[in-house]
């Protein structure tokens, strides 16, 4: 099959691809704030590396989204940078968890652990997408994400079963992050139709995700929160207050000097 989308709803496919791009970009952007400020050099390198992987994934998705949008867009061809730098908060479709502040090392580890575990199960299914391009990106990204899951799980165990302080900080972080995990398993409108077998039924990976998260938490001698109230809105463009600041910073040069090459 050709990698060009031909027989499916293109706006849904574009939105779906943008959602994946936005989550990876915002997560990678946030993690890159650690660069130069990590608790030890080895971990500074590791977290920068994860940030770099995520920005790489985002670029693959944005380039594909641009290709899809440009099929119908004959006037001016858009690029990956137009999509990352010239859309506003309500157009971003990233998960809320990705835009939350890094907080301390425990909060960052919690964010990476929850998100990369989701990516791990998600990409394993996206590999079988009927869309060859999405499948190829998933295949490449899965290798990276497998490491992110291992790295963050190791840290969950270290912090959970480390000192009293590390445990307390991790518990606080998990309680803070937990309500932001629900929306990862609730399909948005652009992913509700799966007749073409392009997208992944995200509700189907909830159990795997929960089992993995529970298992690592148990190893770390932690109990997961029992509250079930979940925040949502990210995929629909309804964000926390944090995203506006991220975009103001990230998009500053493109907005100040429009239309230039950098």
């Amino acid at each position: 099959m050709d990698s060009k989308p031909t027989n499916i709803d293109k706006s849904y496919l574009a939105d779906y691809t943008l959602h994946l791009a936005d989550s990876s970009l915002i997560m990678g952007h946030r993690l890159s704030e650690w660069t130069g400020h990590g608790p030890m050099i080895e971990q500074d390198i590791a977290i920068s590396n994860i940030a770099l992987d995520l920005i790489g994934q985002a670029r693959n998705f944005y380039q594909y989204a641009a290709e899809i949008i440009n099929l119908e867009n004959t006037e001016k061809k858009i690029t990956e940078d137009d999509l990352a730098y010239l859309r506003d908060t309500f157009e971003f479709k990233n998960f809320l968890i990705t835009e939350l502040p890094n907080g301390d090392w425990a909060q960052t580890i919690g964010k990476i652990f929850f998100f990369s575990t989701w990516q791990f199960y998600f990409y394993q299914k996206l590999i079988y997408s009927s869309d060859k391009q999405l499948s190829a990106i998933a295949d490449k990204s899965l290798k990276e994400v497998t490491y992110h899951v291992k790295w963050s799980s190791d840290w969950v165990m270290r912090l959970g079963d480390g000192t009293d302080e590390s445990r307390k900080r991790l518990v606080t972080a998990i309680e803070y992050l937990w309500p932001y995990t629900g929306e990862m398993f609730v399909p948005a409108e652009f992913e509700s139709n799966n007749e073409d077998q392009v997208n992944v039924d995200v509700s189907s990976i909830k159990k795997d995700w929960h089992d993995k998260v529970s298992c690592v938490s148990a190893e770390a001698t932690l109990a997961l929160p029992t509250n079930t109230w979940m925040q949502s809105g990210g995929k629909k463009g309804i964000h926390t207050e944090h995203l506006g600041y991220i975009l103001a910073e990230m998009q500053y040069l493109q907005r100040t000097y429009p239309g230039l090459e950098w």
Partner: protein
Amino acid sequence: MGPQQLLEKFNARIEQDIRIEPKDWMPDDYRKTLIRQISQHAHSEIVGMLPEANWITRAPSLKRKAILLAKVQDEAGHGLYLYCAAETLNISRETMIEQLLSGQAKYSSIFNYPTISWADMGAIGWLVDGAAIMNQVPLCRASYGPYARGMVRICKEESFHQRQGYEILLTLCRGSKEQKAMAQDALNRWWWPSLMMFGPNDDQSPHTAQSMKWKIKRFSNDELRQKFVDICKQQADILGITIPDPDLKWNDERGHYDFGEINWGEFWNVVNGNGPCNKERLAAKIKAHEDGAWVREAALVFAAKQKKKNSDKEVKLETV
């Protein structure tokens, strides 16, 4: 072997360009000089991450963001190899970091200047990494093995960094009027501090003669600085921006560019802690170190628990 014989053997090896390795005997001053130089270099890599990390979240395109992030990450890697190279001389990384954070150890003063615009990412790559390469390529032949080998790897990455910096400026200089002005402004601010990176003039450089004798250093500060000026002038011409030195002109007789007097007052001021960002840079490293203390402690405690668990398991297996 007596001390005199050891020294003669050491000198003979230096003479014959045979590398000195960690387990070889070496004079105390040689060891001290190397520790000072390698740890300063490691600290420079680590502190040097900060002015560039300042622009990762504001890089103007996804490609630039990825390249800059990778570059800053490379610097962390360089810091790591250099700390390891210094550790072979019997000093721990913890001690070196303490010396950095207490202000006792120095790092390259260039990182005490602020990165104000995106063009500074170009200027740092082109000039700062360019000057660093000029200093560091000869170190690939330094007499101390672990240092020389570390430098081979570092220099390969640095030359990539320099190209990406120059390419940022080339893009700006071929762009809009505002972009070109941004590039010129960056050159104005980074030019003189880059020349200072080669250190004091030869007649004012206390360590040079001994370091050259020991083949740690292969060229003097002024020789390297001249080489740098000669190359940069041509590169600035290609960019179409002007080096901020009215005395810069070709000298046919010498076969080099003449250039103006460096403001050594500024140099010593920055070395002694009065640069625009000395306090911020050190404060950022101290904050990262203090905020990370509980993380490092948790990792140690966890590792000890795991070790105990494993040894308990072994005991059990043995008794079965």
